[in-house]
């Protein structure tokens, strides 16, 4: 196991903006840790919004709650909530959100935290169109949260991957090879023909894409856990949340 982990560690840089940084900062919050938290929140707001949507009836209120939650979270005095040993970012956010929603419900008519002033720029409209809230959905809000989390991780990874290919002006290649990510039996010959490459070159390119994808996925997950050892387990848990 150890040898394997070492290998995995050397194959990618442990992401610099990450949850472990926030968690270890604890009460002595540094500007760096605050920035890291804000960065992570900006990346993972969607599962929270999905959870809030399940919690209250109308989207408006869910938006306010989500913004209010982040406003509260990014305030300096509540920052100390993030102490070492708080576990993973995913679990931390969900617990904190649950507490927040309970508090909000209790003080029924008091002003919403954050006063409706957006702290993060969150594209709710786009999220609404993709989140698909079906009343028939029997998943619990927690499961929905985890599922949405896993989807967000994938989304980040795919965006990053695409951006990397775009930087090298290889967007066309990326679009063609994308399906090879999951379907390794797809015909290399067809792709080769439409890309004007040899079959061998396509095979290599697809392999590279897959490799980079795996690296990015681990990097992304590594952002949200405290120690590197947890990466594989978190991956597995996220996978299971997609299956249910």
């Amino acid at each position: 196991m150890n040898a394997k982990r070492k290998e995995a560690g050397s194959s990618y840089e442990f992401a610099t903006t990450r949850w472990s940084l926030v968690a270890s900062a604890g009460r002595r919050s540094s500007a760096e840790a605050e920035a890291a938290l804000a960065f992570l929140c900006q990346r993972y707001w969607k599962p929270l919004y999905a959870y809030a949507r399940r919690h209250v009836a109308n989207p408006e209120e869910a938006r306010d709650l989500t913004q209010g939650f982040f406003a509260r979270l990014l305030e300096k005095n509540t920052f100390a909530l993030a102490e070492p040993g708080r576990g993973r970012f995913r679990a931390f956010l969900l617990t904190t959100l649950k507490h927040f929603l309970l508090n909000e419900r209790e003080k029924a008519t008091s002003q919403k935290q954050g006063g409706g002033r957006p702290v993060l720029s969150l594209d709710f409209d786009k999220a609404d169109s993709t989140l698909r809230f079906e009343p028939a959905d029997e998943r619990t809000p927690e499961k929905l949260f985890d599922r949405q989390w896993a989807l967000t991780v994938l989304e980040q990874v795919m965006n990053q991957l695409e951006a990397e290919y775009r930087e090298q002006s290889k967007t066309g290649l990326f679009e063609h090879l994308k399906s090879f990510l999951i379907d390794k039996t797809a015909s290399h010959a067809t792709a080769a023909a439409s890309l004007g490459m040899t079959e061998g070159a396509v095979r290599t390119a697809a392999h590279r894409l897959r490799k980079r994808y795996r690296e990015l996925l681990r990097e992304e997950v590594a952002r949200t856990v405290e120690t590197e050892d947890e990466v594989e387990d978190e991956l597995l848990q996220l996978f299971q949340s997609l299956q249910s």
Partner: protein, 524 residues
């Protein structure tokens, strides 16, 4: 393994499916790919180990027949029949007996696990016991190394020549089934119901036999179900999923690497990685296959019973759905039960009158639904009107209060549900306890008013004027009154009197207003 290259589109719904696992692709899937499959790929370790036979992508690349020949001097390797996650299968001729056999070569990676050989031997012994006409028989198994051409044929595979630079391979030599697998057979969509009903009992026989021997397949799916030229069903790859996959009770350790089983066919307990996966997982997987044979679709999410999709006996719905129960306890406990059910349905065809009755039933249901919808619409409209009235009354009240007292809250709308709640409390609780008889009416009234008391538990806010209280109490009386009217109209008057007494008491202690406020705060 056969996979469609493109996402299928069906009907008007423009549903997209993952070409790999067959699940519905939700809108906004990352990169337009199936998130589950994408994640699965991601679970494979990013740095490949020194797997001897792995291609650069980590995928198992089978040897070609010529490369395999030195391993099996006793056989003439004819062709590669297929490859999958569990190895490759070749067609071969056993020279001395002049018969066709199938050779299954397990992925070379397995030999890196030192405990594998022991497990392999144990499992192979168990599999050799599975002599059943509907199970692909195992002739031989072992670990084969490449032999010099001159060596005598028919040697034991266990002898590993250390000089060889090629790794030894675990193999099974099996009965060769001349035919197709079920995946090919249902490639065109689905099977005729009669065909499906001919296949299922044979599957049940095979599973029942294996389960009695204590062997669970764990990966029942169309690819593993073979149909020979005489239409006989043969299940292949028994026990391989267990051998190559997750040892029971050791799920977390290996699951990252090996997600065994094919997801849409896997029983929920298998997907969850539960430790207690038993023979009932096979019954589930068979159910998925059964459903697919009948409908051409996979039973994913909320799926329709098969009779809604194809013209079959509705009694089969129950059989199929019961094999697909989430909880193993709710499923058929034995494959033989499924067979018995299917056969009894086949032997007692549905009577015509039953079909007619079904038609009539559907019509009644449709009419009833229409009527219910009409009533609901009317009721909603009436409810809305009542709400408006009450709201007006309360607003007047509040306006007066604002002059008379110091209001802590601006008036808000009264939600329909608070009114309905009062109604329900008044009539429901009384009826529930059967206290609406004439002799019991005082108790009924008191119980009916209890919810009001509960609602007024929190003592805060402004006092409510008489008009507001009257409005609420009127609701209460009507609510409790409905069942009473039905029984004995005379008592209504007495109940009203009691309510008035309560009202006076409530007014005295100023208890009703918090209920109203509570309703508002929740609604607002």
């Amino acid at each position: 393994m056969m996979r469609g290259d493109e996402s299928e589109r069906i009907g008007m719904a423009e549903l997209r499916f993952c070409s790999l696992c067959g699940k519905v692709l939700e809108e906004g899937s990352p990169g337009g790919l199936c998130p589950e499959c994408l994640f699965k790929v991601g679970l494979e370790p990013s740095s490949q180990g020194a797997a001897t036979q792995s291609s650069p992508s980590g995928r198992f690349t089978p040897l070609n027949p010529q490369e395999l020949a030195p391993y099996f001097p006793q056989l003439e390797i004819l062709e590669l029949l297929g490859k999958g996650g569990m190895g490759a299968v070749y067609k071969a001729r056993q020279i001395n007996l002049d018969r066709l056999v199938a050779v299954k070569i397990l992925p070379a990676e397995v030999s890196q696990d030192p405990s594998f050989e022991g497990r392999f031997k144990r499992e192979a012994k168990a599999l050799a016991q599975l002599n059943h006409p509907n199970i692909v028989g195992v002739h031989d198994s072992g670990l084969a190394s490449p032999q010099p051409i001159t060596s005598s044929p028919g040697r034991e595979g266990q002898a590993i020549s250390p000089a060889s630079d090629k790794p030894p391979l675990f193999y099974f030599i099996m009965e060769y089934v001349d035919g197709v697998n079920l995946r090919h057979a249902i490639r065109g969509g689905k099977l005729k119901p009669e065909e499906a009903l001919r296949i299922v009992p044979q599957l049940c026989d095979a599973l029942q036999f294996a389960h009695e021997e204590g062997i669970v397949h764990r990966d029942i799916k169309p690819e593993n179900i073979l149909l020979d030229r005489r239409g006989r069903v043969k299940i292949a790859d028994f026990g391989l999923a267990k051998l190559l996959g997750i040892p029971a009770g050791d799920v977390r350790l290996t699951e990252t690497r090996q997600i065994v089983g094919t997801v849409p066919y896997m029983a929920p307990e298998q997907i969850e990685g539960s430790r207690d996966v038993d023979h009932r997982a096979d019954i589930y997987s068979m159910g998925v296959t059964f459903y697919e044979m009948l409908t051409g679709e996979l039973p994913i999410g909320r799926f329709a019973p098969p009779s809604k999709k194809v013209q079959i006996d509705v009694r089969l719905d129950e059989v199929v759905l019961r094999t697909l129960e989430k909880e193993p306890e709710q499923r058929y406990q034995h494959a033989s039960e499924v067979k018995a059910q299917v056969e009894s349905i086949q032997q007692n065809p549905q009577k015509d009158w039953a079909k007619t009755a079904k038609g009539v039933g559907a019509e009644v249901w449709r009419k009833g639904k229409q009527a219910a919808e009409w009533v609901f619409q009317k009721a909603t409209a009436t409810g809305a009107q009542t709400r408006k009235k009450v709201e007006e009354l309360l607003k007047k009240d509040d306006a007066r209060n604002q002059v008379e007292n110091e209001p802590s809250q601006p008036p808000g709308p009264v939600e329909l549900w608070t009114i309905l709640l009062l109604f329900a409390c008044m009539s429901g609780v009384g009826m529930l306890l059967d206290l609406t008889r004439a002799t019991h009416w005082p108790a009924g009234t008191i119980v009916g008013l209890l919810p009001l008391g509960l609602l007024t538990w929190k003592q805060r806010g402004t006092a409510l004027g008489w008009r507001g209280k009257w409005a609420l109490c009127l609701l209460a009386v009507v609510g409790l009154g409905i069942p009473l009217i039905l029984r004995e109209i005379g008592t209504l008057f007495i109940v009203a009197c009691v309510v008035v007494v309560f009202l006076v008491i409530f007014n005295y202690i100023g208890a009703l207003s918090p209920a109203l406020e509570l309703g508002r705060s929740v609604a607002g």
